[in-house]
Symmetry: C2
Subunit: 458 residues, 2 copies
């Protein structure tokens, strides 16, 4: 049987697999089918494009189909949607969206990189030209075009996750009044409440109105292109546009139709080699599950960083490698105006799910020497294994100084370090970048103190 | 015999020991003798005081003798110089500098925290009112007063270590033309030449003239308060002031006179509990040696971060603890105008001294997503164990983004991670703070590639 790698989806997971396979096997025919017009773009940059930090959408495009053809000998077909995977006959059915032509493509190896799609809540009236989602290049262009040409005065953002908060910031840059509606009673549930209050204060400072426990019940057109957002109980808000940022779900219809097993949150089940349940079929990226480094439990955390890594593992293994995906800590960071928030590893509730008893500490410390101009506070919470002091997770909020300090925690957690180990670390000090005892060490010291007190009490 | 902790020297090493001992033992009498007028100040902040980033010198003072007395029940005597340690009779001889009075003080436990002093090269004419060293509060005040009142136009800085470079930056802020004279043929010998060239370019951009292989042979007063700097071979430079930043040496006269053993670079020899060779005598800080986490070889790297840690270990152990100082990686970071430079662990030459064969890689990557405004390059060099790929050291230069990334390396090195482990780390990504593949991971990837190529070749 002729060897041919087919990849469904041209973003992080799929393209990483294709590129890695090509690097290891110069002669393998590789074909990528992408249903949109773009591959390999920085979707995390979309809010900054909307906010006009980035002027041209092309800046977000990392690789083009032409580059892949000329430099990597990878055939990429855009506007080509795979409509069926036939695992028995090892072929996919493809529809060329522009011509309507349907054709079959045989594969010896298949990578599913179908990604994820925005969850559209079933709210009456949500189908409206001035209500947007934000996931791909076209979404970004549509929103920015709308903002520039229609000059909306008020906008609703549904969902206060990182994308919702970044979208709110982007709209504020155009002077739009932003109302965020979060259906849950709290935002950023991964994080400690005190840290979240730092983020909420930053929203308030920047005149973003946040409504919690505010489930949108209905969108009503108000005739002039406006939208009335109805949150029930008689409250309504008139806005000029809305952006729905209520999360994503994995694109798994193709896989499910082909009888490929799915797992957590409906994502495609994969083993540590990124193999699916079907022979010769791998998956990578936002369409498939991952697992937790610490608990080894399956997780669905769709992130570009994970997608890239999974793709590389799939690409290496499909040409005969034995690479193992080590799992994730779910490390994330986001900028919310001038406040940064980050976390890695387990919080108390995820540790509890895994049956681990925890002890947590929180500190507030300056990101630079106290006497250095512009020193700003950082809040750090460490979640420890109550019995051993092993660091399980960390949460940070405050100045930009949190952004790479979360990586120190991610490294320490991966290495299995305890707070005692953490406290001994020889970290860098200079007044413009850190106090002589770095906030990471101050947090570790608080952790040790809590472990001692616990032993004195129990 | 009455219990009494005596501490010689009121800066990082000594005060940390005193405070830790107090925390563990509320009733132990503790006396600190400090020969200057200040304890516990941020000496690393002095260049920023001189450069007027920090207006008031008092901002650098972390704790006062009054605070130590009232809040910690620690007696601190400033302007009191210990002139002799009598290890047989367990007492110190103290001279009150202000009154001239000499007295004895018995100790049951002694901590030597005498610190280090600037090395004054034996250059004819170096004794000059307009030639300064920069080590303590008084030095900082003298230099700033001189700059403000005498308005020097030109200054010489001797030595291009971190303090020399920071001093050059501080003087440039007052518009002073700065000439740095480095006697060695290269600056920052810990670092790769390509990374050093980033620092040198930054100096040039900021109109700091750097002369390498330029040993100052003589200072000649030019009559009007000016100084002629003679570097031999007929070249001379007329300046209005000079700052000598040619390193420090440990203050060990007291210890040596008492028969206490010294070790590397003449620093006080200590074991991992921070005990000296004399019973009941500990040492901590810039006066004593430390050792390398990786090679276990003794080192003399006087740093505030190390001094604080050593002091805490000494303080805990002298009241009966068994704390072990884990050694250092010698992690350092410095700001040179808008360029940051950092390193941790072993470079090739230190690894070679320890008999470790190395393999090194260098990369250049952006500190933020390529499309995000203000993304700047970072250069990273990783030094690996050639046989295992274990990360031994890292060197970084570029934007502020190097400052805490060096800590990721320090953590990974301490944990014994290889480049393979490093590459798997789940690090934080968001366009404003990192590219989707962090420079740390790009460096790890280059390391893996080099390990593979080495295996293909050898």
């Amino acid at each position: 049987m002729e060897r041919h790698l087919v990849v469904i989806g041209g973003n992080a997971g799929g393209m990483s697999a294709a590129v890695r396979a090509r690097r290891g096997d110069p002669s393998l025919p590789i074909t990528v089918f992408e249903r949109t017009g773009h591959i390999s773009y920085g979707s995390c940059g979309l809010p900054y494009y909307i906010g006009d930090d980035i002027k041209e959408i092309d800046r977000l495009i990392i690789y083009t189909p032409e580059y892949m053809k000329n430099e990597r000998n990878i055939n990429v077909y855009t506007f080509c949607e795979v409509t069926k995977i036939d695992v028995s006959n090892k072929c996919v059915v493809v529809k060329d969206i522009k011509t309507g032509k349907v054709f079959k493509q045989h594969y010896s190896h298949l990578v599913i990189g179908t990604g994820a799609s925005p969850i559209i809540p079933p709210i009456p009236g949500i189908e409206n030209d001035n209500i947007f989602t934000l996931r791909n290049i076209e979404d970004g262009k549509r929103i920015k075009y709308h903002v520039i040409s229609n000059k909306p005065k008020k906008a609703a953002v549904l969902g206060a996750g990182f994308i919702g908060l970044e979208t709110a910031e982007a709209l504020r840059k155009w002077g739009v009044d932003v109302y965020i509606f979060e259906s849950f009673s709290e935002i950023l549930p991964q994080l400690d409440r005190e840290l979240v209050s730092v983020v909420e204060a930053e929203l308030e400072k920047n005149s973003v109105k946040l409504f919690k426990s505010a489930e949108v019940k209905m969108f009503e057109p108000t005739g002039d292109g406006g939208i009335r957002v109805n949150t029930g109980a008689g409250s309504s808000f008139d806005v000029d546009m809305a952006v729905v940022c209520t999360g994503v779900r994995p694109n798994t219809d193709l896989a499910k139709d082909a009888g490929i097993e799915t797992g957590i949150k409906g994502s495609i089940k994969v083993d540590k080699y990124m193999r699916t349940s079907a022979p010769g079929v791998w998956a990578a990226g936002d369409c498939c599950e991952t697992y937790d480094i610490i608990t080894k439990m399956p997780l669905y955390i769709p992130l570009g960083t994970t997608a890239n890594k999974q793709g590389k593992i799939a690409g290496e293994n499909l040409i005969g490698g034995k690479a193992v995906f080590p799992g994730v800590l779910g490390t994330q960071v986001a900028k919310v105006f001038d406040t940064f928030v980050a976390f890695t590893g387990l919080n108390e509730s995820r540790a509890a799910e895994a049956g681990i008893e925890t002890l947590s500490v929180k500190i507030k410390a300056l990101d630079k020497a106290s006497y250095y101009p512009g020193a700003k506070p950082i809040y750090i919470k460490i979640v420890m294994d109550k019995n051993t002091g092993r660091v399980l997770g960390a949460q940070l909020a405050g100045s930009e100084g949190v952004a790479k300090r979360v990586d120190v925690f991610a490294t320490a957690i991966t290495a299995g370090m305890t707070v005692y180990d953490l406290y001994q670390l020889d970290l860098a000090y200079a007044p413009p970048v850190a106090p002589s005892s770095d906030p990471v060490l101050i947090a570790a010291s608080a952790g040790i103190k809590a472990m001692k007190e616990k032993n004195l009490i129990s």
